[in-house]
């Protein structure tokens, strides 16, 4: 499946800042959409749209940090670059602790912002590719029978067929057959590949 084109979303209550950022981003060949407030952006935002967000910290009504909180509640993964003319360390730390990609103080050089936007877009591309990969693995896992899943779990723990047979109370030959089905359904070329797949979908601590 081909990715949708990436968009740089800009949220800033200052018309002049929005206009200058839009011009800058377009001059670098980037697609840009701008919004004057957090609620306006949140109403329009579609999480399937790849890209990144350039977000002003201080805005009337919903602040940038509040908007980040709202995005987190919605499970959004879009990389957020905060921009502010009044930043301090506690504010920057809070933004970064809550998953901001970057935090940039005004005034900044055009190239400085463009570099960060490019890095944020690259991160988004990477994340979405990883997500597609894990989705495919989960789809394959869903095709396994309960017994095949048990065999998969045990062999990826490093157990030999004989031990798996002992654990499940079946013959070694039966384990071999289940294991062959697992490899086929998971489209794994080797046990190492199977282990990597399971690590990719394992819950993170």
């Amino acid at each position: 499946m081909k990715d949708l084109p990436q968009t740089v979303f800009v949220v800033d209550d200052d018309d002049a800042v929005r206009d200058s950022l839009r011009l800058l981003l377009k001059s670098a060949g980037l697609s840009c959409e701008s919004y004057a407030s957090g609620p306006e952006f949140l109403t329009a935002y579609d999480p399937s749209q790849p890209g990144c967000l350039v977000l002003d910290v201080r805005m009337p009504g919903m602040s940038g940090l509040e908007m980040q909180h709202e995005l987190n509640l919605r499970g959004a993964t879009i990389p957020v670059i905060f921009i502010t003319g009044h930043g301090d360390i506690p504010m920057a730390v809070e933004a970064m602790q809550h998953g901001a990609f970057d935090f940039l103080q005004k005034p900044f050089r055009d190239q400085e912002l463009l570099d960060r936007v490019q890095r944020a877009l690259a991160r988004d591309t990477e994340y979405r590719a990883r997500l597609r990969h894990t989705d495919r693995i989960r789809e394959r896992l869903a095709t396994l029978s309960p017994r095949e899943r048990e065999v998969l779990d045990l062999v990826t723990q490093g157990k030999a067929n004989k031990m798996v047979a002992g654990d499940l109370g079946v013959s070694q030959r039966t384990v071999e057959i289940h294991r062959a089905h697992v490899m086929q359904k998971m489209e794994a070329g080797s046990l190492a590949e199977l282990v990597r797949m399971m690590m990719a979908v394992a819950p993170r601590p």
Binding site: G87, D88, I89, P90, A92, V93, M96, Q97, D102, F103, Q105, P205
Partner: protein
Amino acid sequence: MVGSQEIDGSAANGGTQRTRTIVVAGQSSNRTREVLRTLRGFSTVIWPKSLEAALEWTGAADVACLVIADDLREEPVDEFLREARELHRNLPIFVITDPDDVAEAVSAMRNGATAVIEIPPSYAALREEIARALQ
């Protein structure tokens, strides 16, 4: 502990609880040392010169957190943070820095700091950050 200095806050704890160690990389200002001394339940080991030695020490079982002091700004702190984070994935790491240096704080956070605290660090700020990180 060659090259290290030790201050002990365990007395403030009344000796009733097991103390945990705060490892400090850098000479650390007097104010920082004073704040660390007052943290109940912690003893502090300071490695004034060697980031590497501090990093080795953080492998000990009773280490509560690592504090990178404000006098290490000339050192490759980001590199050190990445290394520390790679070695100790869940260890709380605090960087104490100049209040004006937002860019440095952002860089430290990106490279694995749990939080960045401005100098002079207050007792409340450090205690709050450490308590939050240890939860």
